[in-house]
Amino acid sequence: MAMELEDLVADLAPRVLRYSRGRTHCPHLAEEVAQDALSALVQRWRRRGPPENPTAFVFAVARRRSARALLRRRLMVPLEALLDRPSPAPDPAESTQRRAAVDEALAALGRLAARDREVLLLVAGGELDLGSIGEILGISGSAVKMRLHRARKRLAKLSEENNEAS
């Protein structure tokens, strides 16, 4: 069972990191959120056994923690500005080119409605199936499908417009 948990955590780590990065737009916050969500799974697993859907469990925790982290950051930004503290430096491991690609993707995500963005992030970042997403968001599978279709269509259209403009 320990190996099973280790394998699952190793598989989920990059997926939660992608999702959290898309939610928080910040590599540091994303790492914090992903670690919190995975730690919650590990503790739950060791204390009371595996949850019914471990993947949905982790992403539900990550979703709540991301929202909390964003709120905290919004509250702290005016304080940090007041205290003249610099905002966290970008991750030195990320190259400029890579950062530009991430920024472009995040900007594209920002053009979506929040509900559509959430579904797209869970599918593209988290690689979740529609049933699990429905479970996390508390909506039906068909509603998930509809939101996903709308998000993909909108992004494809935006991309076409950008290509034409350039």
Binding site: L5, E6, V9, A10, L12, A13, P14, V16, L17, R18, Y19, R21, G22, P27, A30, E31, A34, Q35, L38, S39, L41, V42, Q43, R46, R47, A93, E94, A101, V102, E104, A105, L106, L109, L120, L121, V123, A124, G125, E127, H149, A151, R152, K153, L155, A156, S159, E160
Partner: protein
């Protein structure tokens, strides 16, 4: 970008550094599983007990007050014996006036009487 390419585009754009993913997984697995926290044992459990006691007490009081009140006690009158004539005599001994029936029963004692 076609609709089918959207997911792959985001997956690649948001892909984390493999070292970061490994580090996050390792740290999550090494996170200690806390036993039931001390605050639970010291604060929450006693507080719950007190709360249960208060609620129980209130419940008990409400239950007892809502039951029908007992009927007021009717003073019971027992006629021991109808007195024969002379019905009673009054004695005055040291300022204490007593009314005694003909059968010798004390009907009343009037303390501090003057006549």
């Amino acid at each position: 970008m076609k609709q089918a390419e959207v997911d792959e585009y985001f997956r690649q754009a948001l892909e984390p550094d493999p070292d970061t993913a490994r580090r996050v997984a390792r740290q999550a697995l090494s996170s200690p599983t806390p036993a039931r926290s001390l605050s639970w044992r010291l604060v929450v459990a006693p507080a719950m007990l007190v709360l249960v006691a208060i609620v129980g007490s209130l419940w008990w009081r409400l239950g007892s007050s809502s039951s029908p009140a007992p009927a007021p006690a009717v003073p019971s009158v027992v006629i021991v014996e109808r007195a024969q004539r002379p019905a009673f005599e009054i004695t005055n001994s040291g300022g204490v006036v007593a009314v005694i029936t003909s059968t010798g029963q004390v009907m009343a004692i009037v303390s501090g009487g003057t006549s």
